[in-house]
Symmetry: C2
Subunit: 201 residues, 2 copies
Amino acid sequence: MKLEQLIAEYRQKPSQGRIFILSGPSGAGKTLLSRKILTLFPDMLLSVSYTTRKQRPQEVDGRDYFFLTPEDFQRKIDQGDFLEWAIVHGQKYGTCRKWVTEKLNQGHDVILEIDVQGAEQVQRQNLPACSIFVAPPSMEILLRRLKGRKNEAEMDIAKRLKNAEAEIQKAPDYQYLIINDVLSEAVEQLASIIRAQRCRL
Amino acid sequence: MKLEQLIAEYRQKPSQGRIFILSGPSGAGKTLLSRKILTLFPDMLLSVSYTTRKQRPQEVDGRDYFFLTPEDFQRKIDQGDFLEWAIVHGQKYGTCRKWVTEKLNQGHDVILEIDVQGAEQVQRQNLPACSIFVAPPSMEILLRRLKGRKNEAEMDIAKRLKNAEAEIQKAPDYQYLIINDVLSEAVEQLASIIRAQRCRL
Protein backbone atom coordinates (compact mmCIF):
# COMPACT_ATOMS: atom_id res chain seq x y z
CA MET A 1 0.00 0.00 0.00
CA LYS A 2 1.25 3.44 -0.97
CA LEU A 3 0.99 6.38 1.45
CA GLU A 4 -1.36 8.24 -0.87
CA GLN A 5 -3.61 5.18 -1.04
CA LEU A 6 -3.54 4.72 2.76
CA ILE A 7 -4.50 8.34 3.32
CA ALA A 8 -7.16 8.28 0.63
CA GLU A 9 -8.82 5.19 2.10
CA TYR A 10 -8.60 6.61 5.60
CA ARG A 11 -9.97 10.03 4.70
CA GLN A 12 -12.76 8.41 2.74
CA LYS A 13 -13.75 6.35 5.81
CA PRO A 14 -15.89 9.16 7.30
CA SER A 15 -18.26 8.61 4.36
CA GLN A 16 -19.72 5.96 6.67
CA GLY A 17 -20.66 7.31 10.09
CA ARG A 18 -20.33 5.51 13.42
CA ILE A 19 -22.82 4.84 16.19
CA PHE A 20 -21.98 5.94 19.73
CA ILE A 21 -24.19 4.13 22.22
CA LEU A 22 -24.66 5.97 25.52
CA SER A 23 -26.23 3.90 28.27
CA GLY A 24 -26.48 4.26 32.00
CA PRO A 25 -29.09 4.80 34.71
CA SER A 26 -31.46 7.77 34.69
CA GLY A 27 -29.69 10.57 36.49
CA ALA A 28 -26.21 9.52 35.32
CA GLY A 29 -26.21 12.59 33.08
CA LYS A 30 -26.44 11.07 29.59
CA THR A 31 -28.69 13.80 28.20
CA LEU A 32 -26.60 16.72 29.43
CA LEU A 33 -23.46 14.95 28.25
CA SER A 34 -24.75 14.37 24.74
CA ARG A 35 -26.03 17.94 24.48
CA LYS A 36 -22.53 19.23 25.25
CA ILE A 37 -21.03 16.81 22.73
CA LEU A 38 -23.37 18.01 19.98
CA THR A 39 -22.05 21.56 20.44
CA LEU A 40 -18.44 20.28 20.26
CA PHE A 41 -19.09 18.10 17.19
CA PRO A 42 -21.60 19.94 14.99
CA ASP A 43 -21.56 17.09 12.45
CA MET A 44 -22.84 14.58 15.03
CA LEU A 45 -26.52 13.80 15.40
CA LEU A 46 -28.59 12.58 18.31
CA SER A 47 -31.26 10.00 17.54
CA VAL A 48 -34.70 10.92 18.91
CA SER A 49 -36.34 7.83 20.41
CA TYR A 50 -39.94 6.74 20.03
CA THR A 51 -41.79 6.05 23.26
CA THR A 52 -45.16 5.11 24.72
CA ARG A 53 -44.31 7.13 27.84
CA LYS A 54 -46.55 10.11 28.64
CA GLN A 55 -45.27 13.47 27.42
CA ARG A 56 -44.05 15.72 30.26
CA PRO A 57 -45.01 19.41 30.34
CA GLN A 58 -41.64 20.78 29.17
CA GLU A 59 -41.12 18.13 26.50
CA VAL A 60 -41.59 18.69 22.78
CA ASP A 61 -42.82 15.90 20.52
CA GLY A 62 -40.17 15.19 17.87
CA ARG A 63 -37.43 16.93 19.82
CA ASP A 64 -37.26 15.03 23.12
CA TYR A 65 -39.13 11.95 21.93
CA PHE A 66 -41.66 10.91 19.35
CA PHE A 67 -44.65 10.11 21.54
CA LEU A 68 -46.70 7.18 20.29
CA THR A 69 -49.75 5.30 21.49
CA PRO A 70 -49.08 1.68 22.52
CA GLU A 71 -50.93 0.61 19.34
CA ASP A 72 -48.80 2.75 17.03
CA PHE A 73 -45.64 1.56 18.77
CA GLN A 74 -46.70 -2.06 18.31
CA ARG A 75 -47.35 -1.44 14.63
CA LYS A 76 -43.80 -0.12 14.23
CA ILE A 77 -42.43 -3.20 16.04
CA ASP A 78 -44.40 -5.46 13.69
CA GLN A 79 -43.11 -3.59 10.64
CA GLY A 80 -39.50 -3.98 11.81
CA ASP A 81 -39.10 -0.21 11.99
CA PHE A 82 -36.93 -0.29 15.09
CA LEU A 83 -33.18 -0.78 15.15
CA GLU A 84 -33.74 -1.64 18.80
CA TRP A 85 -36.58 -1.36 21.25
CA ALA A 86 -36.99 -2.14 24.93
CA ILE A 87 -39.32 -1.85 27.89
CA VAL A 88 -37.89 0.50 30.51
CA HIS A 89 -39.71 1.47 33.71
CA GLY A 90 -42.77 -0.23 32.20
CA GLN A 91 -42.77 1.93 29.05
CA LYS A 92 -41.57 1.10 25.54
CA TYR A 93 -38.71 2.96 23.87
CA GLY A 94 -37.37 2.42 20.36
CA THR A 95 -34.90 3.75 17.79
CA CYS A 96 -35.87 4.33 14.16
CA ARG A 97 -33.80 2.05 11.96
CA LYS A 98 -34.37 4.04 8.76
CA TRP A 99 -33.26 7.38 10.25
CA VAL A 100 -30.08 5.91 11.77
CA THR A 101 -28.95 4.05 8.64
CA GLU A 102 -29.70 7.09 6.47
CA LYS A 103 -27.61 9.38 8.68
CA LEU A 104 -24.75 6.86 8.88
CA ASN A 105 -24.76 6.55 5.10
CA GLN A 106 -24.59 10.34 4.82
CA GLY A 107 -21.41 10.19 6.94
CA HIS A 108 -22.83 11.45 10.21
CA ASP A 109 -21.84 9.96 13.53
CA VAL A 110 -25.00 9.20 15.50
CA ILE A 111 -25.49 9.14 19.28
CA LEU A 112 -28.01 6.65 20.62
CA GLU A 113 -29.13 7.26 24.19
CA ILE A 114 -30.53 3.82 24.85
CA ASP A 115 -30.82 1.34 27.67
CA VAL A 116 -28.75 -1.81 28.18
CA GLN A 117 -31.25 -4.09 26.42
CA GLY A 118 -31.30 -1.83 23.35
CA ALA A 119 -27.50 -1.60 23.37
CA GLU A 120 -27.27 -5.39 23.20
CA GLN A 121 -29.60 -5.43 20.20
CA VAL A 122 -27.58 -2.79 18.33
CA GLN A 123 -24.29 -4.56 18.99
CA ARG A 124 -25.63 -7.83 17.63
CA GLN A 125 -26.22 -6.12 14.29
CA ASN A 126 -23.27 -5.60 12.02
CA LEU A 127 -22.93 -1.84 12.48
CA PRO A 128 -19.91 0.32 13.35
CA ALA A 129 -20.92 0.90 16.98
CA CYS A 130 -18.94 1.99 20.00
CA SER A 131 -20.55 1.48 23.42
CA ILE A 132 -20.11 3.78 26.41
CA PHE A 133 -21.60 3.30 29.86
CA VAL A 134 -22.18 6.48 31.86
CA ALA A 135 -22.26 5.88 35.62
CA PRO A 136 -22.90 8.26 38.50
CA PRO A 137 -20.05 8.52 41.02
CA SER A 138 -22.22 6.94 43.75
CA MET A 139 -25.77 5.78 44.44
CA GLU A 140 -26.19 8.65 46.92
CA ILE A 141 -25.44 11.21 44.20
CA LEU A 142 -27.74 9.38 41.77
CA LEU A 143 -30.56 9.57 44.30
CA ARG A 144 -29.88 13.26 44.92
CA ARG A 145 -29.95 13.98 41.17
CA LEU A 146 -33.22 12.11 40.69
CA LYS A 147 -34.80 13.95 43.63
CA GLY A 148 -33.65 17.26 42.15
CA ARG A 149 -35.68 16.60 39.01
CA LYS A 150 -39.07 18.19 38.66
CA ASN A 151 -41.99 16.01 37.55
CA GLU A 152 -40.51 12.94 39.18
CA ALA A 153 -42.95 11.20 41.51
CA GLU A 154 -41.63 9.35 44.58
CA MET A 155 -42.70 6.04 43.08
CA ASP A 156 -40.82 6.79 39.88
CA ILE A 157 -37.64 7.46 41.84
CA ALA A 158 -37.83 4.12 43.64
CA LYS A 159 -38.40 2.38 40.29
CA ARG A 160 -35.48 4.20 38.67
CA LEU A 161 -33.11 3.40 41.54
CA LYS A 162 -33.97 -0.28 41.36
CA ASN A 163 -33.51 -0.19 37.61
CA ALA A 164 -30.17 1.60 38.03
CA GLU A 165 -28.84 -1.33 40.02
CA ALA A 166 -29.88 -3.74 37.28
CA GLU A 167 -28.31 -1.57 34.56
CA ILE A 168 -25.00 -1.29 36.41
CA GLN A 169 -24.77 -5.10 36.31
CA LYS A 170 -24.42 -4.75 32.54
CA ALA A 171 -21.74 -2.04 32.57
CA PRO A 172 -18.84 -4.52 32.13
CA ASP A 173 -20.27 -5.46 28.70
CA TYR A 174 -19.54 -1.96 27.41
CA GLN A 175 -16.32 -0.87 25.72
CA TYR A 176 -15.92 2.33 27.73
CA LEU A 177 -16.91 3.58 31.17
CA ILE A 178 -17.33 7.25 32.04
CA ILE A 179 -17.90 8.07 35.69
CA ASN A 180 -19.81 11.32 35.50
CA ASP A 181 -18.65 13.13 38.61
CA VAL A 182 -17.48 16.49 37.22
CA LEU A 183 -19.40 17.20 33.99
CA SER A 184 -16.55 18.97 32.17
CA GLU A 185 -14.29 15.95 32.75
CA ALA A 186 -16.95 13.55 31.54
CA VAL A 187 -17.43 15.69 28.40
CA GLU A 188 -13.67 15.64 27.77
CA GLN A 189 -13.61 11.86 28.15
CA LEU A 190 -16.51 11.33 25.76
CA ALA A 191 -15.02 13.79 23.27
CA SER A 192 -11.73 11.86 23.46
CA ILE A 193 -13.50 8.56 22.81
CA ILE A 194 -15.14 10.09 19.72
CA ARG A 195 -11.90 11.63 18.42
CA ALA A 196 -10.00 8.37 19.04
CA GLN A 197 -12.70 6.40 17.23
CA ARG A 198 -12.24 8.69 14.23
CA CYS A 199 -8.53 7.73 14.12
CA ARG A 200 -9.33 4.02 14.17
CA LEU A 201 -8.17 1.94 11.25
CA MET B 1 -22.16 -5.97 40.32
CA LYS B 2 -22.81 -2.99 42.57
CA LEU B 3 -21.92 0.53 41.45
CA GLU B 4 -19.35 0.90 44.24
CA GLN B 5 -17.70 -2.34 43.13
CA LEU B 6 -17.71 -1.30 39.46
CA ILE B 7 -16.08 2.03 40.30
CA ALA B 8 -13.58 0.44 42.67
CA GLU B 9 -12.44 -2.09 40.05
CA TYR B 10 -12.27 0.57 37.38
CA ARG B 11 -10.32 3.07 39.50
CA GLN B 12 -7.94 0.33 40.57
CA LYS B 13 -7.22 -0.54 36.94
CA PRO B 14 -4.54 2.17 36.55
CA SER B 15 -2.40 0.11 38.94
CA GLN B 16 -1.37 -1.66 35.71
CA GLY B 17 -0.09 0.73 33.03
CA ARG B 18 -0.63 0.43 29.30
CA ILE B 19 1.79 0.44 26.37
CA PHE B 20 1.28 2.95 23.56
CA ILE B 21 3.21 1.85 20.49
CA LEU B 22 4.13 4.69 18.14
CA SER B 23 5.40 3.59 14.74
CA GLY B 24 5.84 5.31 11.43
CA PRO B 25 8.59 6.34 9.04
CA SER B 26 11.47 8.61 10.10
CA GLY B 27 10.29 12.15 9.55
CA ALA B 28 6.64 11.41 10.39
CA GLY B 29 7.14 13.31 13.63
CA LYS B 30 6.95 10.55 16.26
CA THR B 31 9.60 12.09 18.50
CA LEU B 32 8.13 15.59 18.57
CA LEU B 33 4.68 14.10 19.09
CA SER B 34 5.71 11.99 22.06
CA ARG B 35 7.61 14.90 23.62
CA LYS B 36 4.44 16.99 23.55
CA ILE B 37 2.43 14.11 25.00
CA LEU B 38 4.84 13.72 27.91
CA THR B 39 4.22 17.35 28.88
CA LEU B 40 0.43 16.78 28.71
CA PHE B 41 0.57 13.51 30.68
CA PRO B 42 3.29 13.89 33.32
CA ASP B 43 2.65 10.32 34.57
CA MET B 44 3.55 8.81 31.18
CA LEU B 45 7.04 7.58 30.40
CA LEU B 46 8.95 7.21 27.16
CA SER B 47 11.07 4.10 26.77
CA VAL B 48 14.66 4.83 25.73
CA SER B 49 15.77 2.32 23.10
CA TYR B 50 19.11 0.54 22.89
CA THR B 51 20.91 0.82 19.57
CA THR B 52 24.09 -0.10 17.73
CA ARG B 53 23.74 3.07 15.65
CA LYS B 54 26.51 5.68 15.96
CA GLN B 55 25.81 8.48 18.44
CA ARG B 56 25.13 11.84 16.72
CA PRO B 57 26.75 15.04 18.01
CA GLN B 58 23.66 16.45 19.74
CA GLU B 59 22.56 13.10 21.22
CA VAL B 60 23.01 12.12 24.86
CA ASP B 61 23.64 8.49 25.85
CA GLY B 62 20.80 7.31 28.12
CA ARG B 63 18.49 10.15 27.09
CA ASP B 64 18.09 9.71 23.33
CA TYR B 65 19.33 6.14 23.17
CA PHE B 66 21.52 3.74 25.05
CA PHE B 67 24.41 3.32 22.61
CA LEU B 68 25.85 -0.19 22.55
CA THR B 69 28.54 -1.98 20.59
CA PRO B 70 27.25 -4.74 18.30
CA GLU B 71 28.77 -7.27 20.74
CA ASP B 72 27.00 -5.84 23.78
CA PHE B 73 23.73 -5.66 21.84
CA GLN B 74 24.09 -9.32 20.82
CA ARG B 75 24.72 -10.29 24.45
CA LYS B 76 21.46 -8.60 25.47
CA ILE B 77 19.63 -10.46 22.67
CA ASP B 78 21.08 -13.77 23.88
CA GLN B 79 20.04 -13.01 27.48
CA GLY B 80 16.45 -12.26 26.38
CA ASP B 81 16.76 -8.70 27.69
CA PHE B 82 14.69 -7.19 24.88
CA LEU B 83 10.92 -6.92 24.79
CA GLU B 84 11.44 -6.41 21.05
CA TRP B 85 14.38 -5.74 18.79
CA ALA B 86 14.74 -5.10 15.09
CA ILE B 87 17.20 -4.13 12.38
CA VAL B 88 16.31 -0.75 10.91
CA HIS B 89 18.38 1.04 8.27
CA GLY B 90 21.02 -1.65 8.89
CA GLN B 91 21.32 -0.90 12.62
CA LYS B 92 19.87 -2.76 15.59
CA TYR B 93 17.34 -1.20 17.95
CA GLY B 94 15.82 -2.81 21.05
CA THR B 95 13.53 -2.12 24.03
CA CYS B 96 14.47 -3.16 27.56
CA ARG B 97 11.95 -5.72 28.79
CA LYS B 98 12.76 -5.23 32.49
CA TRP B 99 12.32 -1.45 32.43
CA VAL B 100 8.98 -1.61 30.59
CA THR B 101 7.42 -4.29 32.80
CA GLU B 102 8.65 -2.51 35.93
CA LYS B 103 7.08 0.79 34.88
CA LEU B 104 3.81 -0.90 33.82
CA ASN B 105 3.63 -2.63 37.20
CA GLN B 106 4.14 0.72 38.91
CA GLY B 107 1.06 1.98 37.02
CA HIS B 108 2.80 4.13 34.43
CA ASP B 109 1.68 4.23 30.83
CA VAL B 110 4.70 3.73 28.60
CA ILE B 111 5.30 5.03 25.08
CA LEU B 112 7.38 2.84 22.78
CA GLU B 113 8.71 4.55 19.68
CA ILE B 114 9.48 1.43 17.71
CA ASP B 115 9.42 0.21 14.15
CA VAL B 116 6.82 -2.06 12.55
CA GLN B 117 8.82 -5.26 13.20
CA GLY B 118 9.16 -4.41 16.89
CA ALA B 119 5.48 -3.50 17.13
CA GLU B 120 4.55 -6.95 15.82
CA GLN B 121 6.74 -8.56 18.49
CA VAL B 122 5.17 -6.53 21.30
CA GLN B 123 1.64 -7.28 20.13
CA ARG B 124 2.31 -11.01 20.09
CA GLN B 125 3.08 -10.83 23.80
CA ASN B 126 0.19 -10.70 26.20
CA LEU B 127 0.57 -7.05 27.24
CA PRO B 128 -1.99 -4.21 27.37
CA ALA B 129 -0.76 -2.49 24.22
CA CYS B 130 -2.40 0.03 21.93
CA SER B 131 -0.80 0.59 18.51
CA ILE B 132 -0.71 3.88 16.64
CA PHE B 133 0.78 4.51 13.22
CA VAL B 134 2.01 8.05 12.57
CA ALA B 135 2.11 8.93 8.88
CA PRO B 136 3.26 12.07 7.08
CA PRO B 137 0.59 13.79 4.97
CA SER B 138 2.54 13.01 1.77
CA MET B 139 5.84 11.57 0.57
CA GLU B 140 6.88 15.05 -0.63
CA ILE B 141 6.52 16.45 2.87
CA LEU B 142 8.34 13.46 4.33
CA LEU B 143 11.26 14.08 1.96
CA ARG B 144 11.28 17.77 2.84
CA ARG B 145 11.35 16.99 6.57
CA LEU B 146 14.19 14.51 6.16
CA LYS B 147 16.19 17.01 4.10
CA GLY B 148 15.63 19.64 6.79
CA ARG B 149 17.40 17.47 9.35
CA LYS B 150 21.02 18.16 10.14
CA ASN B 151 23.44 15.20 10.21
CA GLU B 152 21.46 13.33 7.61
CA ALA B 153 23.62 12.17 4.71
CA GLU B 154 22.09 11.94 1.22
CA MET B 155 22.49 8.16 1.29
CA ASP B 156 20.65 7.97 4.59
CA ILE B 157 17.74 9.93 3.16
CA ALA B 158 17.37 7.57 0.21
CA LYS B 159 17.48 4.60 2.61
CA ARG B 160 14.89 6.15 4.91
CA LEU B 161 12.52 6.96 2.05
CA LYS B 162 12.71 3.41 0.76
CA ASN B 163 12.12 2.14 4.29
CA ALA B 164 9.18 4.53 4.71
CA GLU B 165 7.42 2.88 1.79
CA ALA B 166 7.91 -0.55 3.38
CA GLU B 167 6.66 0.66 6.77
CA ILE B 168 3.54 2.23 5.29
CA GLN B 169 2.61 -1.21 3.94
CA LYS B 170 2.19 -2.28 7.56
CA ALA B 171 0.04 0.68 8.67
CA PRO B 172 -3.27 -1.21 8.24
CA ASP B 173 -2.15 -3.65 10.99
CA TYR B 174 -2.28 -0.82 13.56
CA GLN B 175 -5.31 0.11 15.65
CA TYR B 176 -5.05 3.84 15.03
CA LEU B 177 -3.72 6.12 12.31
CA ILE B 178 -2.61 9.69 12.89
CA ILE B 179 -1.77 11.74 9.81
CA ASN B 180 0.69 14.26 11.15
CA ASP B 181 0.00 17.29 9.02
CA VAL B 182 -0.60 20.02 11.62
CA LEU B 183 1.31 19.08 14.80
CA SER B 184 -1.24 20.50 17.27
CA GLU B 185 -3.99 18.39 15.67
CA ALA B 186 -1.85 15.27 15.77
CA VAL B 187 -1.11 15.93 19.46
CA GLU B 188 -4.82 16.33 20.18
CA GLN B 189 -5.56 13.06 18.38
CA LEU B 190 -2.90 11.14 20.26
CA ALA B 191 -4.01 12.68 23.58
CA SER B 192 -7.58 11.60 22.78
CA ILE B 193 -6.48 8.05 22.04
CA ILE B 194 -4.69 7.94 25.42
CA ARG B 195 -7.65 9.43 27.34
CA ALA B 196 -10.08 7.07 25.60
CA GLN B 197 -7.86 4.10 26.40
CA ARG B 198 -8.00 5.10 30.06
CA CYS B 199 -11.83 4.86 29.93
CA ARG B 200 -11.72 1.37 28.45
CA LEU B 201 -13.33 -1.42 30.39
